[in-house]
């Protein structure tokens, strides 16, 4: 039987076989000892890596050399004898109660070795802020990306085919997709009695009084969209148990210490019986900071008594891994005639999707950063995160900062334009300097805001620039 590994070897051999070519003859690519891997062992000497002091050097990366030579092993490159492949069946409804799961037809298929449902997971909850997310949903599905049944089979294709034989009966429940509708009392609820699952307030000075005393007051609502991290390498895991009941996982997780805690908790085994190996991650951007398929793959491996691998498809990556929170942001800012900001009032609504994930951090950073890097004596920020029956939103490069920066910096320009000020001037006038007080009254140190403004303006040629 042609295995995937031998196919790859054949492909590689074809790739490096000398072919007729008009290109000038280069060094021989002939294989030695039948190995398809050919790489130079002479290491280039790099002054940046050999000099002291080491800090400040433009040192080259040893891993970059391995990437360039194709030697980096991502999980897709790793396999073990008798390894199985897992696929996950996802919900058919954005909100529903599972009445029955029938996996018998799938299990009858030759080559299908194990199936797994949420009911079989020892502790079927996880989450970095609250543990409100199931590893496999049961008995309630809360968005279409929720996994319901996992299958391990001898090939990826067989596992995918087996998903089609699984029969699930659902009782559809009313769903809510808009965060503002989800905040209303009569909206369908995802968890508990309210969809507003976390909130934050930052309060300093007297914002209402300062707005009344302002020469100009600006108001605008800003909105941002849901975006996906789109790492080159999707979420991937391999799990394998040994004869002492100890499991080893190779995972694309970006935080293995806490990953091991979560895996130990969901599997209900001590941390000492879990070894988590964080392989080189092919892009994280925040999306790989919590467990996803690790407990599923571990339990399938335990049932099948064979190593099991799961690599998300691009579709899985979009619908089931976390994405960036859309924000609805109301900004009201009062300034005097000289362009000094006197007050800023901000209301943020975060669309949280079906589960909390990293919302706690996102709402915290988003609220603290919302007034911008400016000296403002009167601040009121309130923020609410809301459950909706959509893909869960979590950590993504900036934790709410790109959203609020879009709002506060758009409004800074609107103010500058109205007052006839240069956008650079209004920022320099209000910007943080050393020992400025943050919105939470923290004394700021090593502040380099104005240096970045003036250096960027000089490099751009801001003063000389013409359309």
């Amino acid at each position: 039987m042609a295995t995937r590994t031998t196919d790859i070897q054949t492909d590689a051999e074809q790739l490096v076989m000398p072919r007729e070519s008009k290109a000038p003859a280069s060094q021989s690519l002939a294989l030695s000892g039948g190995s398809p891997v050919v790489f130079p062992l002479e290491l280039p000497q790099s002054e940046s890596r050999l000099s002291t002091p080491a800090v400040g050097q433009r040192a080259t990366r040893p891993d970059a050399r391995l990437h360039g030579l194709g030697q980096t092993q991502y999980i897709d490159d790793i396999s073990f004898p008798h390894m199985l492949h897992a696929k996950i069946l996802r919900s058919e409804y954005p909100h529903a109660r599972i009445l029955n799961i029938d996996t018998s037809e799938a299990e009858k298929m030759p080559g299908v070795i194990a199936t797994l449902t949420g009911a079989e997971i020892p502790e079927n909850t996880f989450g970095p802020t609250f543990q409100d997310q199931p590893v496999l949903a049961y008995p309630i599905v809360r968005h279409l990306g929720d996994g319901v049944v996992a299958v391990a089979a001898i090939t990826e294709q067989l596992a995918a085919d087996a998903l089609e034989k699984i029969k699930i009966e659902y009782e559809p429940l009313p769903a809510v997709f808009d965060p503002l509708e989800a905040m209303e009392d009569d909206a369908p609820k995802l968890h508990g009695e309210t969809n507003i699952y976390t909130s934050k307030v930052i309060k300093k000075g007297d914002v209402e009084k300062a707005l009344k005393e302002s020469d100009h007051v600006f108001h605008r609502q800003y909105r941002t969209q849901m975006v996906e991290h789109v790492p080159l390498e999707p979420h991937a895991t391999i799990a394998s148990w040994d004869g002492n009941g100890r499991v080893t996982l190779w995972s694309s997780l970006g935080r293995i210490t806490l990953g091991r805690e979560d895996i130990s908790r969901t599997l209900a085994i001590p941390q000492s019986r879990v070894r988590l190996i964080g392989t080189v991650v092919g892009g994280n951007f925040g999306g790989k900071n919590e467990i996803t398929n690790e407990p599923i793959v571990a339990l399938l491996s335990k049932k099948a008594r064979r190593p099991v691998k799961s690599v998300f498809t691009r579709g899985d990556e979009f619908v089931s891994s976390t994405i960036r929170h859309p924000f609805i942001m109301d900004y009201t800012t009062g300034v005097n005639n000289e362009g000094k900001i006197l007050a800023r009032k901000v209301r943020l609504i975060l669309d949280g999707g079906a589960y909390c994930s990293w919302t706690g951090t996102t709402i915290g950073k988003g609220s603290i950063l919302a007034p911008g890097p400016y000296n403002i004596d009167n601040i009121h920020v309130e923020a609410y995160a809301v459950y909706t029956n959509k893909t869960a939103t979590g950590a993504m490069r900036g934790f709410g900062a790109p959203q609020v920066c879009f709002a506060y910096e758009s409004q800074m320009d609107e103010i500058a334009h109205k007052l006839g000020m240069d956008p650079l001037e209004i920022r320099l006038k209000n910007g943080f300097t050393e020992n400025s007080l943050s919105p939470t009254s923290q004394t700021l140190q090593s502040v380099a805001l104005k240096e970045s403004l003036t250096q960027a303006a000089d490099r751009f040629g801001w003063k000389e620039w013409q359309k």
């Binding site: 002291t52 279409l144 605008r220 969209q225 925040g286 879009f406 805001l449 240096e451 250096q455 751009f460």
Partner: protein, 337 residues
């Protein structure tokens, strides 16, 4: 007609978790040839963290980057780490490595002091030697001190330490407190061209000047900034997951449009000269903030070009064109009345 515009945006961004503990631990072992091994529980996610962490260990031990090998990402071997998140690796894991390397170095000073007839606090590690402060000709190679320490003194040159950024709880009513130990700052300026007949926006150039404290490796900081801007351009102009009744209708790279190299503007990247005394050799961080101000700068440039303020992202051609047409209608009404 294509119209040019320019726009700027600045930002601030914290390093590490919001109040919550986010420690990192590290172990530094010095070998008998003067090279060293660092154990860290973080993982390489493509940003070059392990190279930077190796440079930090090398600096603390007075050896070169190439002398350090970093072992990462195995819970059986490496000490705890909160992970590659919140732009914290250089600052938090870096500080843990400095502390761990200092402990290993202290063992070397204790072993070398009697051989050099001085007290341990009169020594420094520099240029691969343990030498007397202010008198470098009195020195012993690190390699010999390591061997002496483990074979004669009986102490291997191994140091372990952890670091957690100090914070103060935020008041639940007012949010007042010290949620982070340090912040970084940045400004990006965009030069764009907007087609006022199609609404299409082309970003021609972005100048980005970031503060990361002391850059441990300026080349890798520049790489982070370039990558962050590409995410910022996607967030500003193209990327959006679309839903219909809770179902994603574009969960693929055919219909979810990301910037490619052809969409990338010319980039000019600068770093401000800064030093944070709380960071490893003055460093803070550079991961997330690079993607923060890009969209705001582009939106301000669109306004400068065609006079419309885009308040909902992304600024797709349809959205920009709709705003341009609404503006024209309003202007015509004013003229008519």
């Amino acid at each position: 007609m294509k119209k040019r515009g320019r726009g700027m945006a600045c930002m601030w961004y914290p390093i590490g978790f919001t109040v919550a503990a986010n420690p990192s631990a590290a172990t530094v072992k010095v070998n008998t040839d003067g090279t060293a091994t660092v154990l860290t529980g973080t993982v390489e996610t493509g940003q070059g963290a392990l190279t930077v962490l190796g440079q930090i260990a090398a600096e603390a031990l007075g050896i070169a980057t190439d002398d350090v090998h970093v072992v990462s990402g195995d819970t059986d071997v490496t000490p705890m780490d909160t992970g590659a998140i919140a732009s914290r690796t250089t600052y938090v894991t870096g500080n843990a490595i400095v502390k761990a390397a200092e402990k290993a170095r202290e063992i070397l000073f204790e072993a070398a002091a009697p051989l050099l007839n001085v007290k341990p606090n009169q020594l420094e590690a520099r240029d691969k030697q343990i030498q007397v402060l202010g008198f470098p000709s009195s020195s012993i190679p690190i390699s010999e001190v390591v061997l002496h320490s483990e074979s004669v003194v009986g102490t291997p040159a191994i140091g372990s330490a952890s670091y957690n950024p100090p914070t103060v709880q935020m008041d639940p009513e007012t949010g007042q407190g010290k949620p982070f130990n340090t912040y970084v700052y940045a400004t990006q300026i965009a030069d764009v061209e907007v087609d006022d007949e199609t609404g299409e926006v082309e970003v021609l150039k972005i100048v980005a000047v970031h503060d990361c404290g002391t850059p441990i490796n300026p080349m890798l900081v520049e790489g982070q900034i370039q990558g962050g801007i590409s995410m910022g351009v996607g967030f500003a102009l193209q990327e959006e997951i679309l839903f219909k009744e809770g179902k994603q209708i574009n969960p693929n790279l055919t219909n979810y449009i990301m910037p490619t190299s052809l969409d990338m503007p010319d980039l000019e990247v600068g770093l401000v000269d800064n030093y944070d005394p709380t960071g490893p050799f003055g460093a803070k961080g550079a991961g997330e903030p690079t993607a923060v101000p890009t969209a705001a700068a582009i939106m301000n440039a669109i306004y400068d070009a065609v006079g419309v303020r885009i308040s909902t992202l992304p600024a797709t051609a349809e959205r920009v064109m709709t705003a341009i047409m609404e503006k024209r209608e309003t202007e015509q009404k004013i003229v008519a009345s």
